[in-house]
């Protein structure tokens, strides 16, 4: 009986967690108050700066809308915790925020739930939308309708340690054009710099779905011979393709040949920071990282960013497998409006978004979160570029970046890739077929067998 009671307690918690919000009824709220749910730590590299930004937004919103109130709902924890809170809160009108900040990977799930109010007409008539590159527009668009307005983006690059490259005798600036050239450089680094990891590649639970999948693996996949996470025009997740196998093969190659860091470095909750720590400590020569890793590049005594950037840190575009351009997966955070918001509150919500989309506001937010601002004008503004100079490089990547898919089910696919890449990094003798099975199993758990496809 005791065992039953103990195990049942898990079910009690489960039932309560799901049931309470599902059972909640509709309550009316004043049409002059709107709420905003946002992530405190999951979104910002400087939560204090984010706090300053959001309070300034509140103050300006209430000043420009006399009688209206903006209620802030900060959520602690990781970005995943924040997304789950939004998903659970939006189940009922009484708990739903009017506006929420979400990551691009949650957009499809929330839209498919029917929780999001389309903003197509509003977006297309706004000034900021015209300044969005097509990839930025795409991450907030699903089946032709706009549901999310980007707040800031993440793009990836190959960071490299110029000091180590000089030591290895590799000509600077360095820019590999194909995966073969990249691998050749890594082999040279391994031969010339014993004890240094030629490449640092994120994987596993530490960096999570964003770090391990969106901001690492996917940047190889979108440069492979079948660059699709979702098969075009089908909405089905690609669980087996030549490109998927090529990308997994890249991991197998670098980890089996000693061209990447030891797998044990990725254990622990702060694994995401190792990308820059390894590079600046001269323990890795090349890392695949994002714009938000830049603030972690600080050498003892460094006070002048431009000099540091110029002398020590190099940035190279991520090559496609066979050349012919460069790869990058664009993702980020966006504002969405709940379907539960009354027309009057939805109008206030759109006004709030318009206010946040001013270039000066986007730049301030980009500084707090180390984002690349979504509008081309803010991304190329002096205010943004002078903050961390190499950010200008990331701004230029938006022109060729591939938008992360907005389809529902990313969590399952991402979990599959996370497990597969973690497995191959820890045991490079594994067969690619086994990793493909893992990706299929996890994706099917999220979207069912009918939600997956192959592109062999």
């Amino acid at each position: 009986v005791l065992i039953l009671a103990a195990c049942s307690s898990i079910l009690v918690a489960f039932g309560s967690a799901v049931g309470i919000s599902a059972a909640a009824g509709t309550t009316s709220r004043a049409d002059t108050e709107i709420s905003l749910m946002y992530s405190q730590a999951g979104m910002a590299v400087s939560p204090a700066a984010l706090d300053v930004w959001i309070k300034a937004v509140k103050k300006r919103f209430e000043a420009t809308h006399p009688g209206a109130t903006l209620k802030l709902i900060p959520t602690p924890g990781t970005d995943t915790d924040q997304q789950n809170k939004v998903k659970l809160s939006m189940r009922s009108a009484s708990t739903s925020p009017d506006v929420a900040f979400i990551t691009n990977s949650s957009l499809g799930d929330l839209q498919a739930s029917g929780y999001l109010r389309p903003m197509t007409k509003y977006a297309r008539s706004s000034d900021f939308w015209k300044k969005f590159p097509s990839s930025v527009k795409a991450i907030g668009t699903y089946k032709g309708n706009v549901y999310g307005i980007s707040l800031g983006n993440n793009l990836q690059t190959l960071f490299y340690n110029k000091k180590l490259f000089r030591k290895a005798g590799i000509a600077l600036p360095w820019q590999p054009k194909t995966w073969a050239q990249l691998l050749q450089t890594l082999k040279t680094l391994k031969a010339k710099l014993p004890g240094v990891a030629p490449l640092f590649l994120q994987f596993g639970e530490g960096p999570g779905l964003f770090g391990s999948v969106n901001q690492t693996f996917a940047n190889l996949l979108v440069g492979s011979s079948t660059p699709y996470m979702v098969k075009p025009n089908t909405g089905k997740w690609v669980v087996d393709s030549r490109g998927l196998r090529e990308s997994l093969g890249f991991y197998k190659q670098v980890f089996s040949q000693g061209l990447a860091q030891p797998a044990s470095t990725m254990t622990g909750a702060n694994a995401w920071a190792q990308v820059m720590i390894y590079l600046k400590d001269d323990k890795a020569a090349v890392t695949l990282g994002s714009n938000w890793h830049l603030p972690l590049w600080k050498l003892p005594g460094d006070t002048n960013w431009p000099n540091v950037g110029a002398s020590s840190l190099g940035l190279a575009k991520i090559p496609k497998q066979k050349g012919g351009g460069y790869a990058n997966l664009l993702g980020g955070w966006m504002s969405v409006v709940s379907v539960h918001a009354s027309p009057a509150r939805a109008k206030l919500a759109e006004d709030l978004i318009t206010l946040m989309q001013r270039d000066s506001s986007l730049v301030q937010l980009a500084k707090a979160c180390a984002f690349v601002p979504p509008t081309q004008t803010a991304a190329s503004s002096r205010g943004f570029l002078s903050f961390l100079p190499p950010h200008g490089v990331f701004s230029s990547y938006m022109s060729f970046a591939t938008a992360a898919p907005a389809d529902p089910g990313f969590a399952g696919y991402g979990r599959g890739v996370l497990l597969a890449t973690s497995a191959i990094a820890n045991d490079p003798s594994l067969e690619i077929d086994d990793l493909i099975k893992t990706i299929r199993t996890e994706t099917e758990t999220a979207v069912g067998a009918s939600g997956v496809t192959t592109m062999r």
Partner: protein
């Protein structure tokens, strides 16, 4: 009314959810359906579920049944023999390890297992990250360390309740320490041991926080025991219906272990009553 509201209703609701396709978010987040045995078939064919079940059994046996119980028994026996002050001090330290929050225990073992940490220093290898090299062993050790006080307190109480004349008679007869332990102490403590095993199993079947802090179920899925798998399926992948089914399977696993201990307890009680009747006769 309270029992129905706070216990029976959520359990019944979870039981129902286990047979639906409810999602955390997605097309089936609001309009979900009763899907009959679909989740059962998925569970049977799910290699990750079987992998997690194996890990759960290993974790239960290694950390709970062997680790906490053996460690708790050893501590209780040593404290019985120790000088009063030393025994009390040891007991207090062990109880502190028990009462500290799960998150703190996890953080402490995280630090211990890092390269250059105490474990590496103790083993003479300060370059190895033991959470990567031996993740399951580390979470078993951390959990056993965190929960050993519970068994220790139970066994200490049971030892105090044993008839002293039997133990003194064994001393007088010159029985060795091993003989006294295996032929007198442990048989007399059998009801307490079985009860302890039952309760330790109960506690360990819902272990979550320490592992989440230490490894988040990784590397890969190396430490994803069923409570973590249930969480991942429900709140990372977002399949709440299937997550509830994993919870139901965990309940069945618990029932299986409970049945074994309950049968053992009943058999032991029957034997005792037969002995008592014979003694009376």
């Amino acid at each position: 009314v309270l029992l129905v509201t706070l216990f029976a209703a959520p359990v019944a609701y979870s039981f129902y959810l286990a047979f639906t396709n409810l999602q955390l978010a997605g097309a089936r987040a609001v309009d979900y359906d009763f899907t009959g045995l679909d989740n059962v078939w998925q569970l049977v064919r799910d290699p990750n579920y079987w992998h997690s079940t194996k890990l759960t059994i290993v974790f239960l046996v290694a950390s709970g049944i062997v680790g906490q119980t053996v460690l708790g028994m050893a501590l209780a026996l040593l404290m019985r023999r120790a000088a009063w002050g030393f025994g009390s001090l040891t007991g207090a330290v062990v109880v502190v390890a028990w009462v500290i929050p799960d998150v703190t225990a996890g953080m402490a073992w995280y630090a211990l297992a890092q390269p250059g940490g105490t474990i590496g220093g103790f083993l003479g290898d300060d370059t190895t990250n033991y959470l990567s090299a031996a993740p399951l062993l580390m979470v078993c050790l951390a959990n056993a360390w965190h929960g050993a006080a519970f068994s220790m307190l139970m066994f200490s109480a049971a030892l105090r309740g044993l008839p002293q004349e039997v133990l003194e008679a064994a001393d007088v007869d010159g029985a060795s320490a091993t003989r006294r332990l295996f032929s007198i102490l442990l048989p007399m403590m059998k009801p307490a041991i079985i009860t302890n095993l039952l309760l330790v199993t109960l506690l360990n079947l819902s272990a979550f926080t320490v592992i989440q802090v230490l490894t988040q179920g990784g590397p890969g899925d190396a430490t994803t025991i069923l409570p973590l798998y249930m969480y991942i399926v429900s709140f990372s992948i977002g399949n709440l219906g299937y997550g509830a089914m994993v919870g139901l399977a965990l309940l069945l696993l618990g029932t299986l272990f409970a049945s074994v201990f309950a049968l053992s307890y009943l058999r032991n009680r029957e034997r005792s009553s037969v002995h008592e009747k014979r003694a009376v006769a």
